[in-house]
C-alpha cells in the first residue's frame, strides 16, 4: 500500500496557483547588509528619543572642522582592563588599557574577515575606532545614503564608572565618524554589568557578549525569545523585536502556543492611564504600517473591533468560586492556576486554601470584556 505524504498531496495543486508565485532567488554567500524601509527608519528615529540606553541619532551633514573628542577629558582608568564589543554583524572586541588597545579578537567569521591583516594593538582608541569603522564601510556593512544600519557598542570592565566612561568615549568617536561619513545609523550602547554571565552565555551560543546582553535586555520584555536566538537572529532582527516591543507594549495579545505547540488565538486588550486604546484610524501612518506588518488583517479586525469595556474587579482574597462567578458576571473568561505555596507569590499569610491569591490583570484596570484573565488559587 502506497501511503502518500501530505506534502506530496499538495503537489497536486492547480498549476495556476503555483505560477502565481516566484520562488525565492537562490541565496548567495555574501556579507549581510541591513536595509531598512523609510518607515522603519522613521520608527527607529522615534525610538531613539524614547530609549534610555539607546543613543540613536540621524546624522547631520559633515563638518570638516569637527575634531575627535579630546582624549584628555576622558576618565578611563589607567590600569584596569576594559572590553568594548562592536556588533553590526561582524562581531569584534577590543581590549583596552587606559585609552590604548592592547588586544582585539573576532567573535564570528565576518568579524575575523574584517580584522584580517589589521593591526590595532598599541594604538589609541580615537584612531582605532574610526579605522575599524572605515573598514566596515569598505566592506559594505555601513554605507552612506538612506540605509539605516544598527551598530551595537557594549562595554564591560571592573567598575560601573569605568564601563560608563568607556562607553561614552567609544560612542563619541563612533558618532563623529558616522557624522563625517554621512551615514545614517542607529547606534545602540549598553553596559554589561554582569560580565561573567554574559561571557559564559556568549561562549555557549557562539556570539559576542554584547549581542547576548542585548538579547537579555529584550528578553525582560519579550518572553518568546530564548538565549539561542542570539545566534539565530541578526542584530537588525533583534532590533526590530526591540523596536516593536517599545512601540507596542503588550496591550495587544493575539495568540500563544499551548502545551502541544499549537497556536491558540485570542485577543486581550486593556487600557492603561498612559496608554489609551485608540481606533486604528487614529494611529499614525507609520504605526498603522507597523501593525499591518506584524498582524494579519483578521487580527487587526479583532484588535480594533468596537469593544465593550469593563473594569476589572478585585478578586484577591475571595474563594475561587466567588472569584470566578464575579469575573464571569462581567463576561471575563477566567484561567485558573493552582499554587501549593505562597512563597515568592504574595506576602502575608492571610489566605486560606481555596482562596484566590493573585490576579492578572490588576483590579481597576479597564479591560475588554471578552478577555481572558488569570487567577492564582492557593490549594
Amino acid at each position: 500500500m502506497n501511503q502518500r505524504d501530505p506534502l506530496e498531496l499538495i503537489g497536486y495543486l492547480d498549476d495556476s496557483l503555483i505560477d502565481e508565485i516566484t520562488p525565492c532567488p537562490t541565496p548567495q554567500k555574501r556579507p549581510l547588509r541591513f536595509r531598512y524601509l523609510a518607515v522603519a527608519a522613521l520608527i527607529a528615529a522615534l525610538l531613539t528619543a524614547l530609549t534610555a540606553f539607546v543613543f540613536a541619532f540621524i546624522k547631520h551633514p559633515p563638518t570638516a572642522t569637527d575634531p575627535l573628542p579630546p582624549s584628555e577629558s576622558l576618565i578611563l582608568p589607567e590600569d584596569d582592563l576594559l572590553y568594548v564589543t562592536i556588533d553590526i554583524n561582524p562581531s569584534v572586541e577590543f581590549t583596552v588599557k587606559g585609552q590604548t588597545v592592547i588586544a582585539f579578537k573576532a567573535y564570528n567569521d565576518d568579524g575575523a574577515a574584517i580584522l584580517k591583516d589589521e593591526e590595532y594593538c598599541g594604538k589609541h582608541l580615537s584612531s582605532v575606532i574610526p579605522a575599524f569603522m572605515e573598514k566596515l564601510m569598505e566592506e559594505g556593512y555601513l554605507k552612506p545614503g538612506d540605509d539605516l544600519s544598527v551598530l551595537l557598542i557594549s562595554a564591560r570592565g571592573s567598575t560601573d564608572s569605568a564601563i560608563e566612561a568607556l562607553l561614552d568615549t567609544v560612542v563619541d568617536i563612533a558618532e563623529k565618524t558616522l557624522s563625517e561619513e554621512q551615514i545614517q545609523a542607529c547606534l545602540l550602547a549598553e553596559p554589561i554589568l554582569d560580565a561573567q554571565k554574559a561571557e559564559e552565555m556568549a561562549d555557549l551560543y557562539g556570539v559576542s557578549p554584547g549581542k547576548i546582553q542585548y538579547l537579555m535586555n529584550i528578553f525582560e520584555y519579550d518572553m518568546d525569545l530564548v538565549p539561542a536566538d542570539a545566534a539565530e537572529f541578526t542584530l537588525v532582527e533583534l532590533f526590530r523585536i526591540d523596536m516593536k516591543r517599545r512601540l507596542y507594549p503588550p496591550k495587544y495579545q493575539v495568540g500563544e502556543y499551548d502545551e502541544y505547540g499549537e497556536l491558540v488565538l485570542y485577543v486581550s486588550i486593556y487600557e492603561e492611564p498612559n496608554h489609551q486604546y485608540v481606533p486604528f484610524e487614529a494611529l499614525s501612518k507609520e504605526e498603522q504600517a507597523e501593525l499591518k506588518r506584524n498582524y494579519s488583517q483578521e487580527d487587526l479586525d479583532i484588535m480594533f473591533a468596537p469593544r465593550v469595556w469593563t473594569t476589572m474587579p478585585n478578586v484577591v482574597g475571595l474563594p475561587k468560586e466567588e472569584a470566578v462567578d464575579l469575573l464571569h458576571s462581567r463576561n471575563i473568561a477566567v484561567r485558573i492556576t493552582y499554587v501549593h505555596s505562597l512563597d515568592h507569590l504574595v506576602s502575608g499569610d492571610d489566605f486560606k486554601r481555596g482562596d484566590c491569591v493573585k490576579q492578572e490583570f490588576k483590579p481597576g484596570r479597564r479591560h475588554n470584556s471578552d478577555a481572558i484573565v488569570t487567577i492564582w488559587v492557593y490549594q
Partner: protein, 186 residues
Amino acid sequence: MDDSMIVDQYLSRNEEAIKSTAAKYGKALNTLAFSFLEDHATADECENDTYFAAWNAIPPHEPRNYLFPFLRKITRQLCLNRIKEGKRQKRRAEIVQMSEEMANCLPSAQSVESELDAQALGKAISSFLKSISKDRREVFVRRYWYLESIKSIADHCGISESNTKSILFRTRTELKLYLEKEGYTI
C-alpha cells in the same frame, strides 16, 4: 523550440529531447530544486533525475501544453524524496514539521491512495485556495508547495514571522473545515 516539439522528441524516443528540455527549462528546474534542497550538488542531481523521469513518463503522458508544470511537479517530488532520504537533518526536520502541519488538515493517507483520489483532493484544495485572498494564498503556497521557511516567507511577503504563523494557522484551520464540508474525513 516549443514545448510540443520537445514532447514529440520524447514520444519518438529521440535523446535530443533531454538536451532540448535542459536548454529551455534546466535553469528554472535547477533553481527550483535548490530552493527545496538548499544544496547545489543535490539540486544538480535532481535536475538530471527529472529528465530521466520525464523520459520514462512521456509516453504515456503527453504534456504538450503543460510541459514545465509537468517537469516542475516531477522535480518537486524527487526533491521531497531526496530530503527524506538525505543526511541534512535540519532540512529534513523542517520538512517533517511542514508535513505534520498539513497532516492535521488533510484526509488521512489511507483515504487518498489512488492517483485519482489525489487529483480530486488537489482540486478541492485548489478551490479553497482560490476562495481566499491572494496574500494568504501566497503564504500558504510558499510554505507547503515551495517548502519555504517561515522566515523566508515573512521576509518575502514583508510581514512578521508571527503574522506568517498566524496566517498559516488560520488557513489550515479553514482548509480543514472546507474539506470536511466537501465530505472528506480528516
